[in-house]
Structure formats: C-alpha cells, structure tokens
Symmetry: C2
Subunit: 200 residues, 2 copies
Amino acid sequence: MPDPVDFYFDFSSPYAYFAVTKIDELAAEFDRDVVWHAFMLGPAFKMTDNAPLIDQPVKGNYCANDWARLARFMKLPWSMPDPFPIATLAAGRAFYWIGDEDRALAKRFALACFDTYFGRGEDITAAEKVADIAESLGIDRAGLLEAVADPAVKQRLKDETQVALDAGVFGSPFFIIDGEPFWGADRLWMVKRWLKAGGW
Amino acid sequence: MPDPVDFYFDFSSPYAYFAVTKIDELAAEFDRDVVWHAFMLGPAFKMTDNAPLIDQPVKGNYCANDWARLARFMKLPWSMPDPFPIATLAAGRAFYWIGDEDRALAKRFALACFDTYFGRGEDITAAEKVADIAESLGIDRAGLLEAVADPAVKQRLKDETQVALDAGVFGSPFFIIDGEPFWGADRLWMVKRWLKAGGW
C-alpha cells in the first residue's frame, strides 16, 4: 500500500470544513489512507505575516459569500459562526488524545466538531462544548476534560503545530502527498489528479 | 445573448497566465462573451493589506512550485521571470489603447504579453519591449509608444483600476458573472458550473 496522504487542518477553518468530508473517500479511490493532523493556524499566520480571511478588507466579504456558496454547492449545512475565527485549542488537544487510542474515532470526532461549528454555527471554543461533542460519540467525558487541561496534551498540540510548520504548512486545509504540497479546498481536483497520475 | 463575463487581470499575475488561455473558450460554451479588464494589483494589495505572493514567507516557495506544476499540468511554457513581480503600466495602458480600436486584437496582445513574461521569462516592464510585442501583431509601434506616455491613456488605466476595486476585485484573476464574484485560476471549474447552472 502506498504512503498515506497527510492532511493538515485547523478546526476554525471554513475551507477545511469543505475538505474534511471529501479527503478520505478521494484518497481511498487510490488505495491511500489519510493521516489527519490538527494544528493551530495562528502560529502559521504569524510565520507568513497573514491575517484571518474574515479580517481582510474586501476579501473577507468575498470569502463569507464563497463559504455559503460552497456549502450550497456541496449540499452541506452552513451557518456562519459567531465568534469567528476562534482558538480551537480544546478541540485540537482532544483530537490527539482521542486519536492516540482510536484514529477512526478521532476523525469522527473532528467531523462532528466541524459540523457543530460551521454546520450549526455553535461556538466550540469551550472545553465543555468539546466534551459534549465527544460524549455524543461515546467518548469518556471526564477523561477528555482532564486531558485537555493536561500539560503533556497541551504540549502535544504545540509540537504537532511546529511539525506542520516545519513541513511547510501555512494554511488550512493543506495536503502533502509523497512530499508534494497542496493548499486549499479548491485543490482537491489537483490532489485527485496527482494521486491518479503519481505526479507530473 | 446573456451578459458577458467580466475578467480582471494584472499582467504580472502568474495565476492570470493560467486563466487567460481558458476563459474565452469556457464562456463561449455558454454563449457568453468575455470582457477583459487589465488593472493594477498594487492598489488592490494596498486596499486589502496584502503583499505579492512571492514575498510572503513559506507561501512564496509554495507558489513558485505551484506555478511550475500548473504549467506542466496545462502543458503551457513556463519560465519564472526575473524581475518578478513588475509594475506592468506600459502593457496595461497599451491594452486599453489597442482595445478601443479592436477588442479582439487587444486580447491577442495580452496573450502575447503573458507568453513573453511567463512563457519566456522576458521582462515586459519597458515600453519598448511592449512595443516589440505589439509590433509583432501588426500594431503601429510609434503610435503605441506615444499612447503609453499620453496622460489621458495613463489616467485610463488608473480609472479602470478604480472601477475594478469598486466592483470588489482584490486579486488576479478575478471573474464577475451577473454580479457574482469568483477569485482565482483554481475557480475556473466553479465559473463553469455557475455558467452552466445559472447559479445555485
């Protein structure tokens, strides 16, 4: 089996919302597994001297319209969250804590977080909210709340973010296939062509 | 016949290079004409507090690789120009001067400018170089050199840039279809779907 596709995302990224429901199915067509990596966009924006899209004049309005338009096109629920963007530390930490035991469950948890934040427009900043989402998937609520406050788990998300930055990740969603980087939900078509052709 | 597609571009934009050869053919499938609008990205970047891609840490390297990769994919010649980016005032002014007489010729001129800059990697900043390109298409060289120094033609490019900014254009390439904005060469697939469906 060929190497897995690496998929990097921030839980507060609308364009990641449009990629999370697609990437595993797409990769599976080419016998590829997908390793999901949650990271924090904040340090990436700092590194590239960038700002959240919504805060950029003119571009922010364009993107707000684009997200709603993409959701209609993909027939995904969409509810512009407020506050947006948010620091998704609790979700990111929980993702790694769950994933260390069960990677498939961590993906389901991530999908549920994206659906809660962008599909229903509910704030997922608070650890209690993240615990609600986890609990609905049968995950130990008390264990999760303890984990997201654990210094080792906190450090884990920091380390994973640094690993992503070191790999050249500067935006979300971001895909790396056999060393080749692809940025953006708009590039899923290219990811597919690349997987099919093995590069060009 | 339905309204034309408005297509906005800067002559120094690599992603516009990947769109100029496609947009007219794509729109024609849906009986749409395309009106090309040259504008200056500099004021747009100022408005959105953005910088040229190549100057952005990490992202610049990603984009340089992405341009070469897109060129290979589209089987277009690619030669990373130096200097890059450039202020394409002469090309922009010439484009409008030619287009006032012959819009089809202005498009051929624009395609030749893009091919010279990105296909062959030759600097097109100088009016003399722009005149070479125009002359190869049978355009009056002396007339063009006079035009690009004419205050009225200079003002024309400024005005067209302001019209673009007022329409919400903040990047290149940019398409507006019946009031709906689409940004980026990555969105030609969406432009096509939108033209086909009449929106969604």
